[in-house]
């Protein structure tokens, strides 16, 4: 893959997916989420169930192999990268990215 790497974290659910970033900082942000977006947040929680179900991939600032976003992504069969430390500050709404849940790399699409 020759695209520019924008972030690297821990890949915890394998596969790659491309989509537009949607940064979720609070529940007030939920209504801007569209099906196929990449869910970018500090860490997921059960209020995000419905948007997780519509996400093409999940990227989090913190977390590990057995954290909430990792477990759920593996069941949903979508890529997940956690422990990026700065995804919510570095990625912008609408930015097109490619998430590689195997290597933990996130590229500009």
């Amino acid at each position: 893959m020759s695209n520019e790497i924008v972030l690297k974290g821990m890949g915890t659910s394998a596969g790659t997916a491309e989509g537009a970033v949607c940064v979720i900082n609070s529940r007030a942000d939920f209504n801007k989420f569209k099906e196929g977006n990449v869910l970018v947040t500090k860490i997921t929680d059960p209020t995000m169930v419905m948007i997780m179900n519509e996400a093409s991939a999940i990227v989090c600032d913190i977390g590990g192999i057995t954290s909430h976003p990792s477990i759920i992504s593996r069941e949903l069969g979508i890529p997940c990268v956690v422990n990026t430390k700065e995804a919510t500050s570095k990625l912008q709404d609408g930015q097109k990215i490619i998430v590689n849940g195997t290597t933990g790399e996130i590229f500009v699409a």
């Binding site: 394998a14 209020t47 419905m50 179900n53 590990g64 057995t66 069969g77």
Partner: protein, 357 residues
């Protein structure tokens, strides 16, 4: 010497625990972790549990009968929790070993295929014969990627409702994955059970549309493993294209209509979200009380079997009064070095060791 040999299983248990939760970042557990909560009630909890163990002995109830009152994951998790409590409360070694052995005996009765602590990546409640019967009963449906995605969403909704009902750490009450059961020809069976989804005993206002879901999935070209915590599922291979056959039973009824499944996903997801908001907005004192209720509820069936009241005693509830989660957390030493961390926790978890927080 005989005593030492009797507890050799603890070595495997420690290895399994280290693999499962070693160096886990507990800050991702929300709204709190068991290491914040449980030290606050360790002494009172052990007294409560000791009464159950003693009553089972007095009534001469076999481990086989007792084991039916728990799911394996619940046993594994409560063994972990209690081995930490035993050190917090500084119980003497004889009692520590007896409490640990109680859960070990239950696990032995529950898991005929071994790997009691998931060290080898499995959680197998069913014997080989039971699996043959399940497969021979038939009525499996053909899998497609679309259906696999819907099941992922259903699991997600039920899982999150479970976390909202039982906190992140007593999830064993709600969700468990069994397998992998090797079917030959590159196929495995995994059984996902989502249960106790409408516990009005602890949450009177919960409005889930079902109590229990059994999802049986046959994958091809997919490897599956869990660890000591059976909702810590991991896969190698594509779970979407790898789903070959499936069967789902909702509250005892076999369901094939995907619209029913989609509606249930919606209901459980919304209920989980609502419940989570309610849970996380509870004042700390109420959250602590609720955590006591939830922990006791994990033992409801065994209490019923022994004609005991599973509901928390006044002594248990009083134990959290005026305390804070931060107080509980300060029980433990904190580490940035992984080896030091693992050394510390292995000594805490090992009831044979005279090592205390």
């Amino acid at each position: 010497m005989e005593q030492q040999e009797k507890f050799l299983w603890l070595d495997e248990y420690l290895d399994a625990l280290q693999e499962s939760i070693g160096f886990m970042d507990l800050s991702t557990l929300q709204p709190t972790s068991w290491r914040h909560f449980q030290p606050l009630i360790a002494k009172e909890w052990l007294d409560w549990l000791w009464n159950i163990i003693g009553e089972a002995e007095r009534q001469k109830v076999s481990y086989t009968e007792l084991a039916k009152c728990f799911e394996p994951d619940l046993c594994r998790e409560h063994l972990l929790f209690v081995t930490e409590d035993l050190k917090t409360a500084k119980w003497p070694i004889e009692k520590r070993l007896k409490v640990a052995d109680f859960f070990y005996q239950l696990l032995k009765a529950q898991m005929p295929q071994g790997d009691l602590f998931g060290l080898n990546g499995s959680t197998k409640r069913h014997s080989s014969l039971a699996i043959k019967q399940i497969i021979n009963e038939g009525e499996f449906n053909k899998g497609t990627p679309e259906i696999a995605r819907e099941f992922g969403k259903l699991y997600n909704s039920a899982y999150n409702l479970g976390a909202a009902l039982y906190l992140d750490f007593y999830m064993g009450k709600a969700v468990e994955n069994w397998g992998p059961y090797d079917l030959g020809n590159g196929k495995i069976l995994v059984i996902k059970e989502m249960r106790h989804l409408k516990p009005t005993e602890i949450w009177p206002n919960v409005n889930s549309k079902c109590e229990k879901i059994d999802l049986l999935v046959i994958y091809e070209g997919v490897k599956f493993r869990t660890d000591l915590i059976a909702c810590h599922t991991q896969y190698e291979g594509d779970v979407i294209s790898g789903l070959k056959e499936w069967k789902i039973i909702i509250d005892g009824k076999s369901v094939t209509d995907m619209s029913i499944i989609k509606n249930l996903t919606q209901n459980l997801g919304e209920e989980g979200s609502r419940q989570w908001i309610y849970l996380t907005e509870l004042p700390e004192e109420q959250l602590l009380e609720k955590a006591v209720w939830i922990r006791c509820f994990c033992f409801d069936k065994v209490c019923d079997l022994l004609s005991l009241d599973w509901r928390p005693t006044q002594k248990l509830l009083a134990a959290v009064k005026g305390k804070t989660l931060d107080e509980g957390w300060r029980t433990w030493k904190q580490f940035t070095n992984k080896d030091e961390y693992n050394d510390y926790w292995r000594k805490i978890w090992d009831p044979r060791e005279e090592f205390y927080p």
